[in-house]
């Protein structure tokens, strides 16, 4: 049994993004600001699917979706249709979802397009507009709970579904794709990916020789990489034991971090798609697309190119910064206050990112303003703190949100500029290292050793410039005597 190479992995994603910046739901005038609200208070007869009510399309949602299609270079349909996707489930008030379809005469909002990740293009198959179902909650897990609670506040929230071709070749690439997509949506100002459940995805994965397995219920981007890694390991071990992978749908269990079989191909649902008779075909005029195009904001790719040109950043650094709108915005805010963009970029990509990664949090969860970083960088320039100290200051800033001058004072991070104290310490080091002191008189290199000892003794708190000065002064005095 040969080992499966990464090139033999094919992953396709179906990403559902809520249009979180809309004021109202997709087909009614209920407020879409449902998070943290009392269950079943953001509902009306229309999104509850009460008898006799009819959906009316939110025009702003259509505009937002058109913007996405333009950003992903998709072909926007001149005449798009809504289709009903029929299945029974308690989170759906009508027991069908108003969605779109690309078969059976259906025409979704847009077809084709791509997202560029580094040097690779991930092709988009289609983009469609649809309504979110409500939310179910259980007492503990589905299996153990004796009841199910339904909250319809989310029912009818506008979603765009973005389906990729199976061009993704690794779990990491899947994450990068999603990060890029999120950055695009955030740059467009239509979806805030940091809101809980605002971006969810299903993943289709096949290994060479195996059938396509769909993983559902992946609630965040972090989970995607995990779920896919688990699934690859699972499938590989089956293949190694000579078991063929059949087509099935699996459920990602976030708690246990495993996938569980939901249904096999034979049990696949028949959604009985057909055109939604209560909505008329939506005609999208060329002029409307042009008008929207004209007010499109700068997108991550353009921004990355601008960062390289304007701030002379390394391409890979510009790429990393623009992967998140918050990060890129933070960077640019800093550049307005501080003249060394590369320095800003290095700190953001180094210390900031690893902190975010370790804590598993988002840029917007930090209590930091550009001022924090810039002040700290100024302290380094002025020699108030060393680079090494700056790292500690930064950690403290990230943790507490305090301004660097406060931290420096509180933590006594300020470098010691007291000549008397430094002189005493130098004296002590020279005494403790008589041989090195002798060598140093004739050998410059030995000075470095003494310097190191000095820093060790003072926990790096003394100003290296001043220390060097005093060491040389004392050595020349010793040489004379």
């Amino acid at each position: 049994m040969s080992k499966i190479k990464s090139a033999e992995i094919k992953i396709g994603l179906e990403v559902h993004c809520q249009l979180t910046n809309l004021k109202t739901k997709l087909f009614c005038s209920c407020s879409s600001d449902y998070r943290g609200k009392e269950p079943n208070t953001h509902i009306c007869p229309i999104c509850m699917g009460m008898p006799g009510t009819l959906p009316v399309l939110n025009e702003k949602a259509l505009e937002d979706a058109i913007m996405v299609a333009i950003a992903l270079n998709s072909e926007i349909s001149e005449r798009m249709l809504f289709f009903r996707k029929n299945y029974f489930y308690p989170d759906m008030p009508k027991n069908f979802q108003i969605s779109q379809y690309d078969k059976a005469g259906g025409v979704p909002l847009a077809l084709g397009g791509c997202i560029q990740i580094n040097d690779k293009r991930i092709r988009i198959r289609r983009i469609q507009l649809e309504e979110d179902p409500g939310k179910l909650s259980y007492d503990g897990t589905i299996e153990s709970s004796t009841y199910t609670l339904v909250d319809y506040n989310r029912a009818g929230i506008a979603l765009i579904e973005i389906v990729t071709e199976p061009d993704i070749e690794s779990p990491k690439e899947a994450r990068l794709f999603l990060e890029k997509l999120r950055s695009i949506l955030e740059h467009l100002g239509i979806s805030d990916g940091s809101l809980e459940g605002s971006m969810r995805c299903d993943a289709n994965i096949s290994l060479k020789g195996g059938k396509r397995v769909e993983i559902k219920n992946i609630s965040s981007f972090k989970e995607v990489e995990r779920a896919l890694n688990f699934e690859i390991t699972r499938q590989k071990s089956l293949i190694e034991r000579g078991i063929t992978i059949g087509q099935e749908t699996r459920h990602w269990d976030e708690v246990r971090r495993i996938t569980i079989s939901l249904r096999t191909k034979e049990e696949e649902q028949d959604y009985r798609y057909f055109p939604e008779p209560d909505l008329v075909p939506v005609i999208i005029q060329k002029d409307q697309i042009k008008e929207i195009e004209q007010r499109m904001p700068e997108l991550p790719d353009e921004r990355r190119r601008r960062f390289i040109e304007q701030y002379h950043l390394l391409p890979q650094n510009a790429e990393i910064l623009t992967r998140s709108k918050d990060m890129a915005d933070f960077f640019e805010e800093c550049t307005k206050l501080y003249e060394k963009p590369k320095e800003i970029s290095n700190w953001l990509i180094g210390e900031f990112l690893s902190y975010l990664h370790d804590k598993g949090i988002e840029m917007n969860e930090l209590r930091l303003a550009p001022r924090h970083l810039v002040d700290m960088l100024r302290f380094i320039d002025e020699g108030t703190i060393s680079r090494k100290m700056a790292k500690s200051v930064l950690q403290e800033m990230l943790l507490t949100g305090k301004m660097p001058d406060i931290i420096v004072k509180e933590k006594k991070f300020e470098k010691i500029l007291d000549r008397e104290y430094v002189r005493n310490m130098v004296e002590r080091v020279l005494k403790e290292n008589p041989q090195a002191a002798k060598d140093a008189i004739i050998d410059e290199k030995a000075i470095n050793y003494l310097m190191g000892q000095l820093m060790k003794a003072t926990e790096g708190k003394i100003d290296p410039k001043l220390a060097g000065e005093i060491i040389r002064e004392r050595l020349s005095e010793l040489a004379i005597s």
């Binding site: 699917g49 009510t53 029929n86």
Partner: protein, 488 residues
């Protein structure tokens, strides 16, 4: 006061506005009549007497003060029970919605109230408007006022029977495949299905959304024009409602049809059409000729497929529309809750729906299923397009297309209820107008063996004015053929 009951609505409105009668007295007299007659006819599911009398007193006050009143001032109106009325139970004649009280008004209800019309109650119908006889009502059959042993037609049987028995001045029905025109024909009243999109469907509980329209059922053509004028309007709550300026259709009521070109649809006189019906309709056509119209026969080659196409589309849409009735948020819920949700759904739907409704849900689900979709639903839609084209071609040659509304005379209660196919066949002449989306009217055109015959006329989209003009001329010149129902 009871002598007013048989007057057409426009006369009642005039008299109330002229201080001749009080709205309250008139409405009270209608309820007295309802109480006498309902046990025989059973046109209503729910009466809204208190609300109606309160509204009548408000109108009387307005008139006393000399305030402006609406075009339906004081008229008592029956509303089919699939049209939502805020705070009043709206059942669709189904156990599923037996206790359902909508917190909103249908747009047509709002329009009627704005015009000072008074809603008397909710009229009986076939469950979820699925039927042609009103026998499939959970609340019991409505009887034809012309012969109580016979059906009033359906599904808006209650609305038509209320008009025929003068227990309402005006009525609203809904027509998915003939549900206004069929009972209008069987009860010898006027029923009009408007152009698709002319009347808002907001608040109409859907059976088959792409086919159905709300429309008037009235004693005569003038009332029909009056009520139609009041309920048509562009409605931002209904995406399929057409953005057209409102019209006063009574201005079309001229006694002049000279030179009107009438196409007699041959297929409407084919196999299954009773001779007495064919004869009654032909007599009417000859009468129209006397009035100056020209007629010619015409054959529409795809009409043959209209009925099966209609049923496939209607049932497919219904299977999806009716999925929402699971008992979770409203509607029938089994008392025992100790099941998982899918079992609860199954049981709610098993007991909450009647037999015919379940039959159509199952057939519609089948027609939309993978592997059958192309063979059934999509094919039916293609045929729909072909039939539309047939009609477009025909309307190049003719102003009005004509034929019987129903191929048969009103049948006996229980006669067809065991044979769904025979029941479906009753709709053969009415479904084409729904597939095509054009206006169609049924007006009384005579009797055979003491039973009413209806004449059906169709015109191109949005030509309701012309349709009403031809109907008006016929009614005015041959009033004995189009005489009002006289139950007492």
């Amino acid at each position: 006061m009871s002598r007013y009951a048989e007057l057409p609505a426009y006369e009642i409105v005039e008299r109330i506005k002229a201080h001749e009668i009080k709205a309250e007295d008139y409405i009270a007299s209608l309820y007295e009549r309802i109480k006498r007659i309902e046990k025989d006819v059973h046109a209503y599911i729910t009466l809204t007497e208190d609300l109606a009398l309160k509204k009548a007193r408000e109108i009387d006050k307005k008139i006393e003060k000399g305030e402006k009143t609406g075009r339906l001032c004081g008229a008592g109106i029956a509303i089919k029970d699939n049209i939502c009325m805020k705070g009043v139970r709206t059942t669709c004649a189904s156990p599923m919605l037996e206790k359902f009280i909508p917190p909103y008004n249908a747009t047509v209800v709002k329009r009627i109230e704005d015009e000072d019309g008074i809603i008397l109650g909710k009229a009986n119908m076939d469950e979820f408007a699925m039927g042609s006889s009103t026998e499939y009502s959970y609340f019991g059959t409505t009887h034809n006022p012309w012969d109580l042993k016979r059906v009033p037609g359906g599904s808006s049987g209650g609305s038509a029977a209320a008009i025929a028995s003068s227990t309402a001045s005006l009525a609203l029905g809904s027509d998915t495949g003939g549900s206004i025109r069929c009972p209008a024909s069987f009860c010898l009243v006027v029923g009009l299905k408007p152009t698709y999109g002319l009347v808002s469907r907001f608040g109409l509980i859907a059976y088959a959304n792409s086919l159905e329209q709300i429309g008037p059922i009235t004693k005569d053509v003038r009332d029909c024009a009056l009520l139609l004028s009041c309920i048509t309007s562009h409605d931002p709550l209904d995406s399929t409602s057409v953005d057209k300026p409102q019209e006063d259709y009574t201005k079309y009521l001229m006694d002049d049809i000279n030179g009107i070109r009438i196409g007699v649809i041959k297929e409407f006189f084919g196999e299954g059409t009773q001779d007495s019906v064919a004869k009654g309709v032909w007599d009417a056509i000859l009468k129209l000729e006397e009035l100056g119209a020209n007629y010619q026969e015409i054959s529409l080659k795809n009409l043959h497929y209209a009925l099966p196409s209609y049923y496939i589309i209607a049932m497919s849409e219904a299977s999806s529309n009716l999925a929402r009735y699971d008992g979770l948020r409203y509607g029938y819920r089994i008392p025992d809750k100790s099941y998982d949700w899918s079992t609860v759904y199954s049981k709610d739907r098993r007991f909450g729906f009647g037999f015919e409704v379940k039959r159509r849900i199952i057939l519609g689900t089948f027609a939309l299923s993978a592997g059958y979709y192309n063979e059934y639903y999509l094919k039916a839609q293609k045929i729909r397009t072909l039939i539309k084209r047939d009609f477009e071609m025909a309307f190049k040659r003719f102003d009005v297309l004509i034929g019987p509304t129903m191929p048969i005379l009103p049948f006996k209660i229980g006669e067809k209820v065991q044979d769904p196919l025979e029941m479906y066949m009753c709709d053969v002449d009415t479904v084409p107008a729904n597939l095509v989306g054009i206006p169609s009217i049924s007006i009384p055109c005579g009797f055979s063996l003491g039973l009413p015959i209806g004449l059906q006329m169709m015109v191109p989209p949005f030509r309701e004015g012309l349709l009403l003009r031809v109907a008006f001329s016929f009614q005015r010149n041959f009033p004995t053929l189009a005489r009002l129902g006289n139950y007492e």
